[in-house]
């Protein structure tokens, strides 16, 4: 935490080498984002730390990776081309090309006038035009469905990993349960924390009143020594849902209590707002 002061010189190499806990990193990065002097120093220190990468044993990736990269780039380009039709010229898409040919034939047939063949070709071309439009739209629909399915799969994988983490914390031998009770002004609020110091993991649920605009709830681990440690910001759960939040804190931190405060949106490095939930470890 910088409290508005510049990032201490002695913290810069630790931050750049990735050796600071995330809570400290977040505060220092937030300061650098608004301080050109610290941002420049940090950029230089990061550049130096990046060269540590050169200590790794140097290997070449398989040639197929480059080929795959360019195949991916071309596939992406073709996909974008298809989606641009008909607002922009579709120079590469098959359906677009077919559509332009049929459209041209239909237009010429309808505009031809005197040749009797036009009377035969015009309805045929129009039918082909409709078929091509239907095919193009179907192609887009299938691609959209595929994108949706891929996204759904990614979400399922993420959810499974989260479930495994929850089980991991629950199964840890040192996990303690802490019930948090509402403070004056939020007497009906309740919350529960499961905390494994060895894993440095906190999982929690809470039932809380809705928040004012631009405010957030923030959970704090109150250690036996030192200042409170943020265990994440969260929003009240929607009616009928029971959300479980997870956060990581420095491992082997002995906790004496947990508390929830109301803080400005985005959270703060140290608690400033009113306590709405408090629970003592072993209480």
């Amino acid at each position: 935490m910088t409290n508005g002061r510049h990032i201490p010189e002695e913290d810069l190499p630790l931050l750049a080498a990735g050796a600071l806990p995330e809570e400290e990193c977040a505060a220092l990065r937030a300061h650098a984002a608004g301080c050109a002097e610290c941002a420049a120093k940090l950029a230089e220190e990061r550049g130096r730390a990046a060269l540590l990468a050169l200590a790794a044993t140097q290997e070449k990736p398989a040639p197929t990776i480059k080929a795959e990269l360019f195949a991916r780039i071309r596939a992406e380009g073709e996909k974008e081309e298809r989606y641009r039709w008909p607002a922009q010229a579709d120079k590469g898409g098959e359906s677009g090309r077919a559509l332009r040919q049929v459209s041209g034939q239909a237009g010429r047939a309808l505009a031809g006038g005197t040749n009797w063949w036009n009377w035969v070709l015009a309805p045929l071309a129009a039918a082909l035009l409709i078929a091509a439009v239907v095919q193009w739209r179907e192609g887009r629909r299938l691609e959209a469905e595929l994108d949706g399915a891929n996204q759904h799969l990614a979400e399922m994988v993420k959810e499974r990993q989260r479930t495994e983490m929850l089980l991991d914390v629950l199964a840890a031998q040192d996990t303690v349960s802490v019930k948090m009770a509402g403070m004056p002004g939020a007497e009906k609020a309740t919350g529960a924390v499961q905390y494994s110091a060895r894993k440095g993991m906190v999982m929690y649920t809470a039932v809380l009143p809705p928040l004012p605009a631009n405010k957030t709830y923030q959970l704090w681990l109150v250690p036996t020594t030192g200042t409170p440690i943020s265990a994440g910001i969260f929003a009240p759960e929607e009616r009928g849902t029971k959300k479980i939040w997870m956060a990581e804190v420095p491992v082997n931190t002995e906790a004496k209590a947990f508390a929830v405060t109301v803080e400005p949106a985005g959270g703060v490095p140290q608690p400033t707002g009113a306590k709405v939930l408090v629970g003592a470890v072993g209480g």
Binding site: G47, L54, P61, K66, M201
Partner: protein, 183 residues
Amino acid sequence: MSPHGSTGELVSDWSLLERVVRKDESALSALYDRYSGLVFSEAKRILRDTGAAEEILQDLFFQVWRTAERFDAARGSLAGWLLVAARNRAISRLRRNTGKTEDLDENGVSLRVDLESVAAQNVLLNKVRTVMGSLPEGQRQAVELAYFEGMSHTEIADKTGQPLGTVKTRIRSAMETLKQVLR
């Protein structure tokens, strides 16, 4: 494609990047040839998994292709950005099982050394290896655990059994040595 121009001079990263903005595949190919080894080796060192390292490598260069116009020469070096981004992504992936998928600030990497030619890369590779090899064991271990394993100083202190202050001092000293050698 050769990373050199028609007259044989080395084409700078930023010239190549400008061409990537104009969707010139040969420019991306040159950048890939220039940095893929460094990026892949770093990601593999962190993840110890060839497939995962290749995935990160490909994703990074795909991002360069798609968002080249967002890179700002004034904010730093492309090589530095690639190395920091590869490290952050690999660490993020490494820690996925423990939930550390925090947003990673990959902006603003100022590299005051040249990595654009194979010769320059070889010089720096030797320098960095020499520095790492010459560090006292405790310093080398601390900085490697931080950079390649993504451990915080607290975690390193816990793992090595050293006081937190000692770990911090070791990392600062190692980084200072690197600074002196690269000056």
